[in-house]
Chain length 722, copies 2
């Protein structure tokens, strides 16, 4: 492989090649998305070049002036370099050269950054941590590559010897533990150093970036591809961090593909990187990522990292479904692949991207549980508005993971209905704890009670211990999607000592009904008696309960004292009688939702609102209710979530504001769970085959003296004529 | 005028004429908005005609089956009649005829409606109240007119003698108090009866509809035009009811115009009806009506009543600004004017509708205070996103009015920022108090504390007495809009005995700043000592206060015991020291807002959240803070509202999250109020001329030893170089 790096390598030749540039130069003269994007960026760069150039001596930590200035600089050098290639106007190359020379003057005398964390193993020089320094190199080496042909020999010498090579060495030999680490920070370092190797003709650097400093293969980029994603391309920390981690992967891989196509980097591990891009898209609803773990809820498929990912994926595959996503992203990248996307969109070649019901195996072997998506998809579904369930029998997801084993979320008509709080954070808002994760992220958002899963004795899963959480994960019992809907089951016995949590969720199509319904069977068994809580966090305004509430109308107290309970006000409570217990709310999307629980008279319902013990008003005041059973060794929480009706005060009509469920019954026959649902004056039998293996799923059973046959995990039978 | 009704009147000739129909028949064969609308309505009517026809014996009150059925019937007859005219397919006429004959069979034997209110002076027969009966006639007489030419003589006789004439007589001679009343219910009755007069050649009915039963001119449609709107076309109850009241006015007026153009009905009272349509549009922000008084907040310019209004206004004036609104309404009316709108939109003739800063005089003389709108409009403003102030030194607005003298609201970037609760109601949601106004509409939404205006001694304006409220109203001191912005002042001394409330609001453009700021000077003077509260209800998440809060973090109690206070939880409080006191929140539009108050150390701030004493979860849990001064005879609440910055977690940037105000000073020189604002490292002097009359507004004054001149009510001086 080393031989493929010629002495006189062409420039540019990283993400964008000189062949790409030829085509791109033609395209900027033709009306269309690409030319528009070029003109916009050029105007932006022109404006920024009017400002005085500043390469300040590093001083501030994250968010501070010098930190932000150096971040802006690498972005600006990259953009100006690209404008140089496309416009062929030397002034842009001169600008980049000047800045690189200023950096080359500055760097040799720089000590470690003054704002670094003491005892940290990964300080930077321009930045307080070397992660930022690696990102700086990824951009800057591309900028250098873009202006290389405009440089004279002494400039090349100075910039390479005084700046780029020392930085690359600092980030590799200088920080072996970070560089060799199979971790997303390592990916930035290997990407920067490897790309520097291509540009500056240092094939050894490329080898080290790919296989670690010892070229052992125990670390490095290839190991990262092998370890950091599951075989289906799922990243352990969840979609919010997946799209962030993805960026150096696809950037470096594209550079490898252009320099060493013989490595077939995109074919590694059965096309892992393409799967990772695709999975990132699948992990969204109505354009936003599922907000599991530490996640800013407004992040979605239009984030710049995924724009790059989708652009590269389309360039590699020509799959027109990616154009659908590119269209929603509404941003064109100035690169060879970006040109392909722009031209294809101009020609209106986009076809609907297919969102799927799927279980993404978790962990690098794909066997540490799974993250499950269920979508009530029909032929011509608008994926942005269909009923969707996210079910999470997944692993902890490291330090940003939440203690939410087996939690779920429900989406419909564009909105979150059964919600996850996401991260407690106001990104970059200084007044809110410096814009970092708020204290309430630990005290509330990560806690189990902040999620829609069982809490035992008001204690968080794994006793809130991240290491224990990372070492233990749920089992995915099964997942199946068929014409009746999608069903999945998972369990975990390590979240609490002596307690097994097992949950089966199904998104079921009932023939003749407009919307799919979600069935939830949550079985808790334990050695000793416990208090079991199952919260449901809903988005909307409570419309009614079909059981009387006792409201705390004249004073409020928190539901509990710790583990997140201290942040919830107890607004009302009730213990519904045996039978059905319904809670109906109205979402901002104008639809009603009713959760019908099948209760035995021993479940209390506690209605909550967030905001207690929150002196700085850091929490959103969201609503939920907790189903509680006390002093029990075993309990099965059974419920059905039903979307219904429409509230349109603007047009002055309201349809089906009341739940249409009149009956819900649960029985079991051997391994079969039988759920009878009476709804909208029809009756259905939903059967879930809970067999331990997938071996013998074809079976017969009797119901109401009739023999019915089942082939698979899930079936629906209409009972109307019985 | 009577002579213009010929014995053989043409049909149809009400809102739509036979000449219109000729053009409309041509248009349905040409691709475009009109044809699309026609096809859609035809498909809808076809589907409805498949259902069995039902003309049930009246039984149910509002919302019940027979009530809703009869409402659907008149709409269906009207639509089918129109489809008959356009398609010339007899089956539609036959359908309408059949239904009319069924009604004619039913009506003669009907007693008063069984669900009528006892002792009511206006029961109906098809409906529990005659208002619905009048609406029925307005639609049904038009349907009859549309199918008239397909009827034979015996059908005509039966339908007219057994149904239409008796109904018209019942609604006129049969209920003189309603028919003669100068009230919106009377408008429906006169519209129905007058239009029946045109169709059935009863010129006397038209005269009575126009001048009252005695033809005295003391009542009737012309008197309604004279009395029910202010000279500027503002309807006393506010925009939510204005768009509703408007409908029979424009419908009947259009029929009069077509039958008796010599009456020049649209020129009455200086073109009042066109002004009323136009004012209804002006009373909106980003497509939604200002939610003053009892108002459902999602109602806006796309309501069907205003679609009719805008259609007729465009038909009359050809003003292409109306097309901008029609485009936003996105609904075409099948009528002669509707065709004009559709064709013009197809030709892309729309030009931006000009929203204005304006004071709409209230009351029929326009002198009972005013409803004031201020918009920070520039040449190419996007009116849906500019800073906008609604200021309400307006009259009570009858039974649906709120006790909110001198309240205000603030809008920016598409959203409500300083908000009004609107009505407490879930329209047509049975579980929420039958879909009617909720009890909390009385106990909270109408109360003064639910608004952004002063409450004395925790008591509501006029002691919550509607009659007293209707009899008293504020004075509009002045209103002026110029290049510096807009300023308005109002006062009232009858809301509380012995207390004068005077408020001056200004929306001010500060040169060099991106956004206008809102200045609020609220002066309270009284004979005795009182507790004064000034609430501000904000939409968004509290970001910070620049003074320490004492939070009720572990238990909550209501702020007070009655008059709305019982519904607000007291979340935190503080008494900021003398100087500036800032409260910053983040709206969902991604912008920050800071209210900077100039305090003397005697104002407490009480932070509140709605939801106390609300056992049925009927209230939205919105936030506010109350500035409170106790035991005082006089107080001036001074504050500045400043939009700033941008929060974009999706793109990972946050700009100017902190207020840029560093100084605020208030002084007075004779009748001049001088407000010095230090903001974004600039200094400005805002001067408001509070002179009692508009006579001598040109003046000179000294500031910092400099002589400045003022010409008008409002001016801004830059002080940077001093
Ligand atoms: Zn979470
Ligand atoms: Zn109000």
């Amino acid at each position: 492989a080393m031989s493929s790096l010629g002495v006189n390598a062409k420039h540019p030749n990283l993400v964008t090649t000189s062949e790409d540039v030829q085509l791109m130069r033609d395209a900027i003269n033709v009306e269309g998305r690409f030319a528009t994007t070029y003109k916009k960026l050029k105007a932006q760069v022109d404006a920024q070049m009017q400002q005085p150039m500043a390469v300040p001596v590093p001083k501030d930590g994250g968010g501070g002036y010098t930190h932000e200035r150096h971040k802006k600089n690498y972005q600006l050098m990259y953009n100006a370099g690209m404008i140089y290639q496309l416009s062929q106007d030397e002034k842009y190359a001169d600008f980049v050269t000047d800045m690189l020379l200023q950096y080359a003057n500055l760097y040799p005398n720089l000590p470690l950054h003054p704002a670094r964390k003491m005892k940290s193993q990964n300080p930077g020089k321009f930045f307080w941590q070397s992660l930022n320094e690696a990102v700086w190199l990824v951009y800057t080496i591309q900028a250098y590559d873009l202006v290389y042909n405009a440089l004279n020999a002494s400039e090349i010498k100075k910039i390479e010897q005084e700046l780029l090579k020392p930085v690359a060495l600092f980030l590799s030999e200088g920080q072996p533990s970070t560089f060799n680490k199979v971790h997303n920070h390592g990916t930035w370092a290997t990407a920067g150093v490897g790309m520097a190797g291509f540009v500056m003709n240092e094939p050894e650097w490329v080898e080290k970036a790919l296989y670690d400093l010892q070229k052992s293969g125990k670390g490095g980029f290839l190991k990262q591809i092998e370890q950091l994603f599951s075989p289906q391309g799922y990243y352990n920390e969840g979609p919010y961090y997946q799209r962030y981690a993805l960026f150096p992967f696809v950037t470096f891989a594209k550079a490898i593909e252009n320099n060493q196509p013989e490595r077939k980097i995109f074919e590694q591990r059965n096309g892992l990187l393409l799967k990772a891009i695709n999975t990132t898209i699948q992990l969204s609803y109505n354009g936003l990522f599922f907000p599991i773990n530490d996640a800013i809820k407004s992040k979605g498929i239009d984030t710049i990292e995924l724009v790059h990912g989708v652009t590269i994926a389309y360039g590699l595959t020509g799959n027109t479904g990616y154009l659908d996503i590119a269209q929603q992203q509404d941003q064109i990248i100035l690169s060879g692949d970006g040109l392909k996307v722009a031209k294809a969109l101009d020609k209106k070649l986009a076809t609907p991207y297919q969102f799927k019901s799927v279980a993404f195996g978790d962990g690098n072997d794909g066997k540490q549980g799974a993250l499950v998506i269920m979508r009530s998809v029909t032929e011509d579904s608008d994926f942005n508005s269909t009923q969707t369930v996210l079910y999470k029998p997944a692993a902890q997801g490291l330090g940003h993971g939440h203690f939410d084993k087996l939690t779920w979320q429900f989406y419909d008509a564009g909105n979150e209905i059964v919600s996850d709080y996401g991260a407690a954070r106001f990104l970059n808002v200084e007044a809110k704890f410096g814009g970092r994760y708020l204290p309430e992220n630990e005290t509330y958002a990560k806690q189990t009670v902040a999620h829609n899963t069982v809490v035992v004795d008001e204690t968080t899963h794994f006793n809130e211990n991240v290491e224990v959480g990372n070492a233990n994960y749920p089992t995915l019992n099964y997942f199946e999607t068929n014409n009746f809907g999608t069903v999945s089951s998972g369990k975990i016995s390590t979240a609490y000592e002596g307690v097994e949590l097992e949950r089966t969720l199904a998104l079921v199509n009932l023939p003749g009904l407009d919307n799919a319904v979600a069935l939830d069977l949550f079985n808790v068994t334990s050695d000793d008696k416990h208090q079991l809580d199952l919260p449901l966090h809903y988005h909307g305004q409570l419309i009614e309960t079909d059981f009387p509430l006792v409201g705390n109308t004249n004073s409020l107290k928190p539901v509990g004292a710790k583990n997140g309970y201290q942040h919830m006000w107890l607004k009302a409570q009730a213990t519904p009688e045996q039978g059905l217990a319904k809670v109906t709310w109205l979402n901002e999307n104008g639809r009603f939702y009713t959760q019908t629980s099948l209760v035995k008279g021993n479940e209390s319902f506690l209605f909550t609102q967030l905001g207690a013990n929150d002196p700085n008003f850091n929490l959103r005041n969201e609503h939920g209710f907790i189903r509680r059973v006390e002093n029990t060794k075993q309990h099965k929480f059974i419920s059905l979530l039903e979307p219904h009706g429409l509230y349109n005060p603007s047009k002055e009509f309201t349809l089906e504001a009341a739940s249409r469920v009149s009956g819900l019954a649960f029985t079991e026959q051997d391994q079969l769970a039988l759920i009878k649902i009476d709804i909208a004056e029809r009756s259905y039998l939903v059967v879930i085959n809970q067999a331990e293996t997938d071996q013998k799923l074809t079976t017969e059973f009797k119901y109401n003296n009739k023999t019915l046959s089942l082939n698979g995990r899930l079936a629906v039978y209409e009972l109307n004529n019985q």
